[in-house]
């Protein structure tokens, strides 16, 4: 499976605590200091007017970060745009680490759940949302999770079986 465009979303542990507009200032601050490693941070876009939308978006050359509101569940979403090097496991590891870096930067503002999150294959050509692809993706995800989180046990499920949607894996800690 040759997928480069992965995404990951870590849910906020306490959704009512999220004050969406605060992230405008926070993300502008990140740009001022170019805080996120290996990323060229470019701009902030306010999508708070869209119901269950991308919330507040931080645009970077390598990938976008957002305090995302999809499904009404706030969370830090990172979607990779530029290719990374190495194997698919390497790609996923890089992407998980980038998202975790952003989560760490937000410590003090908001807490994230590490026992329940989503991994997105943002590539309908190489990773259509079907059983076959899910089967191919599972070992890649497991290996990447082990590299990032050690020997924690996770259950991997397909988030939706709607073939129009992207292949999204729900990762739940046991």
């Amino acid at each position: 499976m040759e997928v480069q465009r992965f995404g990951v979303k870590f849910f906020v542990a306490d959704p009512p605590s999220v004050r969406l507009h605060d992230f405008i200032q926070i993300f502008h601050g990140w740009i001022q200091k170019q805080t996120v490693e290996n990323h060229l941070l470019i701009d902030v876009h306010n999508y708070s007017h869209i119901h269950n939308g991308p919330g507040i978006l931080l645009v970077a050359h390598e990938g976008n970060f957002s305090m995302d509101m999809a499904d009404g569940l706030p969370g830090l979403l990172y979607c990779r745009k530029t290719p990374t090097t190495g194997t698919p496991v390497d790609h996923l590891e890089t992407i998980l680490k980038s998202a975790l870096q952003a989560c760490n930067l937000l410590e003090g503002e908001v807490r994230f759940r590490m026992d329940d999150f989503l991994l997105l294959a943002n590539d309908r050509l190489n990773a259509p949302n079907d059983d076959e692809c899910f089967s191919q993706l599972k070992p890649i995800v497991s290996d990447a999770l082990e590299r990032v989180f050690g020997h924690t046990k996770y259950t991997l499920t397909r988030h939706s079986e709607n073939p129009k949607e992207r292949l999204v894996v729900r990762v739940a800690g046991n």
Binding site: E2, R5, I24, Q25, H28, I31, Q32, Q34, L40, I42, D43, V44, H45, N46, Y47, H49, I50, H51, N52, G53, P54, L57, V59, H61, N64, S66, A70, K81, T82, N122, D123, R124, L125, N126, K164, E165, R166
Partner: protein
């Protein structure tokens, strides 16, 4: 690894396959430094690939101007970095989209953009933060569902718009949809519409009275009219030309009170030819057709167009579509059933503002109010499914940045509303004062001065809460906001319009908006508003409160807002706003020194060069760039061992280059190779124009030899030679073209047009 190119090539129209492959080659040429950045900029703009704010590599972060250190210094246009995110505009003629197209648009927004689709004030979609390297695949996926991005930007015929109620409106004379579609198709890529100095916008309306297609503000527009001839009703158009907004708005001029339907396309073509020939090319601020019409006067302009019309060789496409017009109809999915049964909470308010009962009894148009014209991929996909369940293919975007579902059986409206609420798209207020229109402004536009979207969001939030308690006269006013004077938010034709500007207070910049009052949305953009004065951005909500409050209190009977503004007069209106024009000192209130939704201290240092007009590139330069692309592709085939294809492409490249020169003298030349070679020989070889200073005649022999003696067998040596010769021939043509341009003889003369 599979590719979209392989997967979709059989589902795309062959012409689109070729066009998109060509664009991909042009990307490769630019990447390798073989295509000039100006020509590439206009090339990508004509495919809808636009620059965005900060793509010059600089951005003020509120404290200082940062250099955005992209890894590559390659450019995709003057002062426009390759790796900087850009915008993809997607043309939707008359706003018509199908559910399958909506699904694809949703997928593209997720995979290449930020999962948001933006509806523009001209019925297009826009995706932001797109990387240029993704655009060929994005275009292929669109092409596979019948959408092209061609000529979505640049100096070309832009999206042809039409009233979203066309075909279902009580007041229309007839349905303009098939005419809008035919015009869009006919002019797309038409050779006579390639040499403009600026963009060209066309709109169609079914009636005069409503806002409809906003004909009055378009470069060319048609209003449906009929007349009786020999006892038969005949269709035609009241045709207007030379309208436009921009910094200085122009009312369109009546070109013809009744243009018969069969004359629509040839007249459009003749208008395009006159505009291409006589329109301003160097000064882009005066290059729209409105300036040409104003300069010549409508009578002279009409005379020139009619003269041009007489010279044109008949084209079967002019009338070929008319049989389809008679048969054109939309198929509703459901039977017409009157509204009945239980109505969910909130339905009545939504119904009062968002539902239009069609002229076809039992059917309605439901408007989906999109805040700031935005919706997510997920919402788009769900909306596509709703269309499949309720209306079939009958979906359109609107110039008020909304989406309408047409042919909804009225009995389905409550269930449709429930679904829309579930999706977060059940907001009432379509077409009312809360339905604020705004261009992208400083969010993404390089020309934006102040935050039009930030202001629009603020106004919307404040007014939405009290929409149904507002006085009826105020409720139905329109607010439109542009981030600068260029009017993309259409502020001139709004009751309350605003455009972004800046003022210096102390040593600091403060975002302001010019207040423009009394423009008219109805009557096809019937009147332009009156500029009253410049007010700090943070005081604009109070301006709205004050003006609308006075209107409610002081209007005479049923006096319209336009009449009220006219009666009160500029001086008094300005007096009403005088104290709101003041800016408190920075130390006293810093909020005035930042824009809405943006905590950075305000600056205009991020302003870039606009790409709206594109670069003025002559048709010959385009043709030559295409010749270069062909020879480049020939080289690739040579490298892969396909000598026959290398030879064929190199030959085509030489023909294309020769054609580019011939067309500077004889625009209507046929493009078959025999004619091109013959014309080229007579005009540039026998006359020694090509060979005079550049030994070009030697290179012309390459063309003649290959034309007269095509190879019987294809070998590496022969293919390599023809590719090299083609490159040399193109260089000679370039040199000749440049020389003629310097001498001022390259532009097509009026006498030469259409006359061999």
């Amino acid at each position: 690894m599979p590719t979209w190119k392989e997967k979709l090539s059989i589902t795309m129209e062959p012409q689109l396959v070729e066009e998109i492959d060509a664009f991909e080659s042009q990307i490769a040429l630019r990447r390798s430094g073989k295509l000039d950045e100006k020509i590439f900029a206009e090339t990508r703009l004509r495919r809808g690939v636009y620059g965005q704010r900060y793509d010059n590599g600089h951005r003020n972060d509120g404290v200082r101007t940062q250099e955005l250190n992209f890894s590559s210094d390659l450019t995709k246009g003057p002062d426009t970095l390759w790796d900087a995110p850009g915008m993809q505009r997607i043309k939707i003629p008359f706003g018509g989209v199908t559910p399958d197209q909506m699904d694809t648009l949703a997928d593209l927004a997720e995979e290449y953009s930020d999962s948001v689709l933006h509806v523009t004030t001209r019925q297009d979609f826009q995706l932001h933060y797109v990387h240029i390297d993704d655009t060929p695949n994005l275009m292929r996926r669109l092409a596979a569902v019948g959408i092209t991005t061609r000529e979505a930007c640049g100096n070309s015929v832009r999206n042809v718009t039409a009233c979203p109620l066309a075909g279902v409106c009580h007041g229309e004379v007839f349905d303009v949809t098939p005419y809008a579609r035919a015009t869009a198709k006919f002019l797309l890529g038409h050779p006579d519409a390639q040499g403009f100095g600026r963009k060209f916008k066309i709109a169609f309306s079914g009636c005069r009275e409503r806002a409809c297609g906003l004909v009055n503000m378009h470069d060319m527009g048609g209003i449906a009219v009929t007349r009786t001839e020999n006892g038969m009703e005949k269709r035609g158009f009241e045709l207007y030309v030379g309208g436009g907004l921009g910094a200085v708005p122009h009312d369109a001029k009546l070109f013809e009170p009744f243009l018969p339907e069969e004359e629509l396309l040839p007249t459009a073509q003749a208008v395009a030819r006159v505009f291409a020939r006589l329109g301003e090319k160097k000064n882009r601020a005066a290059a729209r057709i409105k300036f040409l019409v104003a300069k010549l006067g409508i009578e002279e302009f009409r005379r020139l167009v009619l003269e041009e019309r007489k010279t044109m060789v008949p084209d079967p496409r002019w009338t070929g579509y008319l049989p389809e017009v008679a048969e054109f109809k939309e198929n509703p999915l459901k039977e017409p059933v009157p509204l009945n049964g239980q109505r969910p909470e909130g339905f009545e308010k939504w119904y009062s503002t968002n539902v239009y009962r069609q002229k076809q009894a039992g059917y309605a148009v439901a408007t989906i109010t999109l805040p700031l014209g935005d919706l997510t991929s997920s919402q788009m996909r769900q909306l596509a499914d709703l269309a499949r369940s309720f209306t079939g293919d009958n979906v359109r975007t609107t110039v008020e940045q909304n989406i309408v579902l047409r042919w909804v059986s009225e009995a389905d409206l409550p269930e449709l509303y429930r679904e829309l609420v579930r999706m977060g798209l059940g907001e009432p207020g379509a077409g009312t004062i809360v339905d604020v229109t705004a261009c992208p402004g400083t969010d993404t536009c390089k020309l934006g001065i102040a935050s039009s979207r930030g202001l629009a969001a603020e106004i919307r939030t404040r007014l939405a809460a009290k929409l149904f308690t507002l006085d009826e006269a105020v409720k139905n006013l329109h607010i439109k906001i542009s981030g600068c004077f260029n009017s993309c938010g259409q502020h001139h034709i709004s009751d309350l319009g605003f455009y972004g500007t800046s003022r210096t207070i102390g040593n600091r910049k403060v975002p302001h908006f010019q207040v423009v009052l009394g423009g008219k949305w109805e009557d096809n953009a019937g009147a332009y508003g009156l500029a009253i004065g410049t007010v700090p951005s943070k005081s604009i909500p109070e301006v709205i409160e004050r003006i609308t409050g006075r209107y409610v209190r002081d209007r005479n009977g049923n006096e319209t807002f336009q009449e009220f503004i006219k009666r009160i007069g500029k001086q008094e209106l300005r007096g009403m706003l005088e104290n709101l024009m003041q800016v408190p000192a920075y130390e006293k209130d810093r909020s005035f020194y930042s824009d809405w939704g943006d905590p950075r201290e305000f600056t205009i240092g991020d302003l870039g060069m606009g790409e709206c007009a594109g670069e003025v590139v002559s048709a010959a330069q385009f043709d030559l760039a295409d010749a270069e692309r062909l020879v480049f592709e020939g080289q690739l085939h040579l490298d892969s061992g396909d000598y026959a294809q290398a030879d064929a492409l190199a030959y085509r490249a030489m023909i294309q280059a020769a054609l580019s020169l011939v067309k500077t003298q004889f625009q209507s030349v046929r493009n078959d190779s025999d004619t091109v070679v013959s014309e080229f020989r007579a005009r540039f070889y026998d006359t020694n124009i090509l060979g005079d200073r550049y030994a070009g005649n030697k290179f012309a022999q390459y063309l003649f030899r290959r034309h007269d003696s095509p190879p019987h067998e294809h070998t590496l040596d022969r293919a390599r030679r023809i590719v090299e010769e083609a490159q040399l021939f193109i260089e000679a043509v370039y040199a000749c073209h440049d020389s003629l341009t310097e001498r001022g003889s390259a532009p097509i003369s009026i006498k030469a047009v259409g006359k061999p």
